[in-house]
Symmetry: C2
Subunit: 174 residues, 2 copies
DNA sequence: GCTGAAAATTATATGTT
DNA sequence: AACATATAATTTTCAGC
């Protein structure tokens, strides 16, 4: 069986993006449905993986992590992919890591305490097998951070394509 | 008046990072305090800005945004900073934007529908006053994404420095 | 700053259209 | 799919330590 997303689902997603802890009662108010209906839709959105989870935005600087940086890494990934991945997972200071095209094979967002701890981190990375080089850009300030794509742009995209987003549900026996 | 963060606060933050919708009752269980105590601590963490908010992780690809890219932009920011900022805010496809050191003055994370919409986006950016050039890296896959710094590493940092993180509270009259 | 217990609110389960 | 109702769970409030 398959379902499709409608504007109400997009509104639910958008509201939850703005405040992941909104109450069902408030969501119901926003989208104009009853609480059980909203609850059911939310369950489906989670079960189908469109909503992956809920999280909390923390001011990391207030926790003593003054330095944020984007680090491009060139990895000889054909041979050392697995060990690179393991190292990335183990390093708590690597908040995000992506495989990318362009200069360097990976880009990671790192948070660390000060320049000394960054220096230690960089020398650690450079000792990993397959790491050919790094290129660090310090984050000076954050101009924008959206948690979630807005309902409007999703809706616009859908209209442009004149399609409905569909998702798979667990198939139930006939 | 000022307060300081203790290990219980860090555990609360970490739990909320893993699941932004955990119940107070569950949090109370985790940290070993009563529900009202946890509720009070959570309020303070929010009021003091250490917790900036709650949000939802969405699988954007499922919403029709197949392409993710990091785009470095060189901006003549001394003259055109304000107008650049305004353009960045208006573009829904720019999910994040940072002022950085290194090649290019800014790095942004962009989500868009397909290569055609990316091409349109890039030509739009390049028409903004002060934009001297762009450099696009496609995201092939996400290896890691942490929502929140772990309590362990925060604690370790604190121990290394032998300090307590302090925060300001609203001053109450003597 | 923490707790227990009452009060208010919110979420879940069930049956109906 | 959505709803109303009933029931269960959770959160908030507040007095007391």
């Amino acid at each position: 069986m398959s379902g499709h997303l409608d504007l109400i689902d997009l509104k639910i997603i958008e509201s939850l993006g703005g405040n992941g802890r909104v109450r069902l009662s408030e969501l119901a108010e926003i989208v104009g449905l009853s609480i059980p209906s909203v609850s059911e839709r939310l369950d489906k959105l989670q079960k189908n993986g469109i909503i992956k989870g809920f999280t909390t935005e923390v001011d990391e600087r207030r926790l003593g992590f003054d330095i944020q940086a984007f680090i491009r890494v060139r990895v000889d990934s054909s041979k050392h992919y697995k060990s690179f991945m393991e190292h990335v997972m183990k390093e708590d200071e690597i908040m995000e890591c992506y495989s990318v095209t362009g200069e360097g094979s990976h880009i990671m967002k790192v948070m660390t305490h000060n320049t000394a701890s960054l220096e230690q981190f960089l020398s650690r990375i450079q000792s990993w097998p397959g790491v050919l080089g790094t290129n660090t850009s310090f984050v000076l300030s954050q101009l924008k951070k959206n948690n979630c794509i807005g309902a409007d742009i999703v809706k616009k995209n859908l209209q442009d394509r004149q399609v409905l987003l569909t998702f798979d549900e667990k198939r139930s026996r006939k």
